[in-house]
């Protein structure tokens, strides 16, 4: 995956909010990452820590909330969730017909700044 592009996206969003609120530096920033996005959280942290240098996020901690892949089978009707990036079939009845309910999240939720 392109964790560096995502880290840059987080930094850009934080800087925009700093300007909007008239604040100077970010202490921590919380993001939500769904399992089905394929984002490797360790690689995201590595990229974020490298790219935050010389920005108002230099001292910021990245807080990651992981969300499992969630689905609902259209054959047996049962919901399921797992930490895989991809699911090819319902884990209960093996049907390939299911609807993804969650796991594609890639959001900044909030930040602590002063």
């Amino acid at each position: 995956m392109h964790e560096a592009s995502i880290a840059q996206g987080i930094i850009d969003i934080a800087q925009e909010h700093l300007r909007r609120w008239g604040l100077r530096e970010v202490k921590s920033i919380s993001v939500r990452v769904g399992a089905a996005t394929g984002v490797v959280v360790e690689a995201l942290r590595f990229a974020f820590d490298a790219m935050k240098l010389d920005t108002p996020l230099e001292g910021a901690e990245l807080v990651v909330e992981r969300v499992p892949l969630q689905g609902q089978c259209l054959e047996c009707g049962r919901p399921f969730e797992c930490w895989e990036q991809f699911v090819l079939a319902c884990p209960h009845c093996r049907s390939p017909r299911f609807r993804l309910r969650g796991g594609r999240e890639l959001d900044v939720l909030q930040m602590e700044a002063e």
């Binding site: 996206g9 969003i13 934080a14 394929g38 090819l88 390939p96 890639l106 900044v108 939720l109 602590e112």
Partner: protein, 217 residues
């Protein structure tokens, strides 16, 4: 102080992609995002497709590569407008790079624009660049296990071209298994078997693409 943000991280790219799409609609250009591994034959496919469409539609090409301009030179030799984009290490094209690139193309004189993405089976599928259709190329030399290893690319694409079919007699690849796995991931995907360098299947693909273009406009 705590500040609520609630913002999608890739939103900036999605917004720019929508702007690109509006620009393409206004200029009446149908745009294909062509994705594959490095070496699957994207540039050869474009060369063959451009020859097959010659005199029927006006084609332009945006070439995305990490470095160099060799692909743009090959396309330029066919006499079609081409712009080379160098991502400088980035593994995919994004909407802002595409926007910069199309500024160098005479969009109002084009009917069809091919965007040749960076060779990569993972990241390009995640980044909308404003295209109307995602088109994937897989050479059969890559092996039949690729759909189940890189499912997102196959799920996101509307059409799959299986390239280098002329090499099939020399390979152990199970093309039927490959097709079945692709269809299990994406039951509505259209599959063509082609050889970009030998010309096999290119006419059929080019006709389908023309039909798709007419249906859109």
């Amino acid at each position: 102080m705590k500040i609520p943000v609630v913002s999608r991280i890739l939103e900036a790219n999605e917004r720019l992609a929508q702007e690109n799409r509006a620009l393409f609609r206004q200029r009446k250009v149908f745009v294909l995002n062509v994705m594959s591994s490095p070496g699957a034959g994207k540039t050869s496919l474009l060369e063959a497709t451009i020859r097959a469409l010659r005199g029927r539609v006006r084609v332009g090409v945006l070439e995305g590569d990490i470095q160099g301009s060799r692909d743009a030179e090959r396309i330029g030799a066919l006499g079609v407008p081409v712009v080379q984009l160098n991502t400088g290490g980035a593994c995919h094209l994004d909407a802002s790079m595409v926007r910069q690139g199309v500024e160098g193309l005479p969009l109002e004189e084009l009917d069809l624009l091919f965007i040749e993405n960076v060779g990569n089976l993972v990241c390009p599928a995640e980044f909308d660049v404003g295209e109307h259709m995602k088109c994937m190329l897989l050479s059969i030399t890559e092996g039949e296990d690729k759909p189940l290893k890189y499912p997102l690319m196959f799920q996101a694409s509307e059409v799959l071209l299986l390239n280098k079919m002329d090499l099939r007699p020399h390979l152990d690849v199970d093309v039927e298994r490959l097709r079945e796995d692709v269809l299990s991931l994406n039951p509505s995907i259209r599959i063509f078997e082609v050889s970009a360098t030998k010309g096999q299947g290119i006419a059929e693909w080019a006709e389908w693409l023309l039909g798709r273009l007419k249906a859109h406009s």
